[in-house]
């Protein structure tokens, strides 16, 4: 059997194995995305739906100051919640990676993570609402007479968003820090670095890709959050996700909803590209190291996410 034949055969096998999934994702994911792109350039139909002619109306409507206010608020809440989430998740990932009981801690993070998201939001409503757990507690203990307005405001939305998405940040951070060689920290300390210096100058640069991954995996879903602002937020904590859904279900302005969706899709894609290039750069840097060191830094199975996300 000559080489050329083999190549053809292998190629055919690869396509045979992958095409069922490729076709499925094309039909149920890529085509819907393309439809959204097309719809964003069409006109709103009289009874919902879309009509010709092709316009940029939807994009002009987005400049509406009301939408702009919601967009700015969304960016602000998302940035704040993401920053706090990462700040909380970093020490957690580190502690888990250094622990002898990694599986136990992972289980403790994963159980709330897998619990139905509505149940978790409901739990917060039960705690924060005016006749909720906290208010009743404080009343019973005699600290307050009137219920505090703990829910249906911006603070509640931010807190619950952090609660919902912190596992998304902890898991990739844990995976990356677990591959870090803690001996390097000891070495830095031996060479006279203070503890914070060792953490910020040795650990942090080495887990850069993990930090970026967890930023992406918290920022993007929070940016598109819909349920949390709907259920624990007030009228003044609406986010862009709520606007999109209202455009589809209430106003039935599909072109506008499509335009908003397209913007979010583009932002998400850019974020993902940033993540991929930074991981690729890290891998390239590691490749330049002498062979023996590479073994230790790279480890046999990389973060599943980065290895599958790689476009080679």
């Amino acid at each position: 059997m000559n080489v050329k034949q083999t190549t053809v055969r292998e190629r055919r096998l690869g396509i045979t194995y992958s095409s069922p999934m490729g076709i499925w994702l094309t039909v149920f994911f890529m085509v819907p995305l393309l439809i959204i792109i097309a719809y964003s350039f069409l006109t709103k139909g009289l009874y919902g739906g879309v009509e010709f002619p092709i316009t940029f109306d939807a994009y002009l409507q987005m400049a509406n100051p009301n939408f702009m206010r919601v967009l700015l608020r969304t960016v602000w809440v998302t940035t704040l919640a993401t920053a706090l989430t990462i700040a909380l998740a970093l020490p957690c990932g580190y502690a888990m990676a250094r622990s002898k009981h990694q599986t136990l801690w992972l289980g403790m993070v994963i159980v709330p993570f897998w619990t139905n998201s509505l149940i978790r939001i409901y739990a917060w409503i039960a705690i924060l609402s005016s006749e909720g757990f906290l208010n009743e507690m404080l009343k019973t203990l005699g600290f307050i007479k009137e219920s505090l307005p703990l829910i249906y405001n911006q603070g509640a939305v931010t807190a619950v968003l952090i609660y919902m998405y912190i596992p998304f940040a902890i898991l990739p951070l844990f995976t990356t820090i677990d591959k870090f060689d803690f001996g390097l920290l000891e070495a830095a300390r031996d060479l006279g670095a203070t503890k914070p210096q060792a953490i910020f100058k040795v650990l942090m640069p080495n887990i850069r890709s993990g930090i970026i991954t967890s930023v992406i995996f918290t920022f993007i879903p929070i940016f598109g959050a819909y349920t949390v602002p709907l259920l624990v937020g007030g009228k003044d904590s609406y986010m862009i996700g709520n606007i999109i859904v209202d455009q589809v279900t209430k106003t039935r302005n599909w072109p506008l909803a499509s335009a908003f969706s397209l913007i979010i899709t583009l932002i998400s894609t850019l974020g993902v590209l940033w993540m991929m290039t930074s991981t690729a750069r890290e891998r390239a840097r590691i490749k330049q190291q002498p062979l023996k060191d590479r073994e230790d830094t790279l480890g046999p199975s990389h973060n599943g996410l980065t290895s599958a996300g790689r476009v080679s």
Binding site: V3, G14, F28, L106, L118, Y122, A123, I244, S261, S268
Partner: protein
């Protein structure tokens, strides 16, 4: 020679250290690495019990569990509200014997979860094998298409599918939910099985082929059995994610296809009943059993979620 296929990077014996087995059980690798040494980082584990990071970890775990504990505790409350009046199993009685609609919704959820997990697992695993070992033109496209659904916000996926189904005039209902769930499950299966294949030694297939196995025999008798744990894990993950999903289901469901999360949503929106509290305990127990079953794979799952 028989193949010019790119092999996955060959590893010498010390890859064993990354598997989830206690260090004591790791037998000395006989590779070119030479003498046996302790798994990396083993010396540095658990050295300071009350450091800053450990305290933060405990606090965050408490933060994660506190709301669940409150809900579970109040599921045993006799009264309806959050004022404690005494122990009672009333809400459990109501959950199990007087919530027909809830259980019908649960039945729908189970049906969709298992069917979509089955299809997603078959498509995703097969594609992971194809992408991992073979080079062909559409490879990059398939990789991107399988990665994007994981990162896009759920609202976008839900709305794009809603618009898609109404554009091609498909009646919303059980089928559309099934299609949507399969779509968002595929990327997770693909990632988990790919991670499993990373640890798989390609030379085993070459050996099987050299010994006369056909390509299909090699696939079904060598590859699939050895990545079975990854396949089962991803299938269970898919079932969980499908049972859990609210946002996407919300958009693609039609009359008569209420799933459990949709039902819970209507309970929260239109009159909270303490039955949610008792339901929470049942669901959390289910998740705990699942996490215990999968405890050996939690690390792989963490790396791909």
């Amino acid at each position: 020679m028989t193949t010019d296929v790119e092999k996955p990077p060959q590893r010498n014996g010390n890859h064993i250290k990354h598997k989830l087995i206690p260090s004591k059980l790791v037998s000395p690798p006989s590779g070119p690495q030479g003498p046996y040494r302790l798994p990396k980082n083993q010396h540095f584990r658990d050295h300071r019990r009350f450091g800053f990071s450990n305290i933060m970890l405990v606090l965050v775990i408490l933060f994660l569990f506190a709301p669940l504990f409150v809900v579970i505790t109040y599921s045993f409350n006799a009264a309806k509200g959050m004022r404690w009046t005494g122990l009672s199993l009333e809400w459990y009685k109501k959950l199990f014997f007087d919530s027909n609609e809830l259980w019908r919704a649960f039945g729908n959820s189970i049906m969709i979860a298992f069917s979509s997990a089955l299809v997603a697992t078959m498509l995703g695993s097969l594609a992971a094998i194809g992408i991992k070992w073979y080079r062909f033109k559409a490879r990059a496209y398939i990789q991107i298409a399988s990665f994007l659904p994981m990162v896009l916000p759920e609202v976008i996926i839900g709305i794009s599918m809603l618009i898609f189904f109404s554009a091609i005039k498909v009646q919303l209902g059980m089928f559309t939910i099934f299609a949507a769930h399969t779509t968002f499950n595929i990327p997770f299966v693909f990632l988990l099985v790919s991670a499993r294949l990373d640890e798989f030694d390609f030379s085993i297939i070459e050996a099987a082929r050299d010994l006369g196995a056909t390509e299909r025999q090699a696939l079904f008798k060598v590859v699939i059995p050895s990545i079975m744990p990854g396949i089962v894990t991803s299938m269970l993950m898919s079932v969980t994610m499908s049972l859990e999903d609210f946002v996407i289901t919300f958009f693609v469901s039609g009359p008569g296809s209420t799933t459990l999360p949709l039902y819970v949503y209507s309970m929260i929106r239109y009159g909270v009943s303490p039955v949610i509290n008792s339901l929470s305990l049942v669901l959390i127990l289910g998740i705990m059993i699942l996490a215990l079953t999968l405890r050996r794979f939690l690390k792989t799952i963490a790396a791909s979620s």
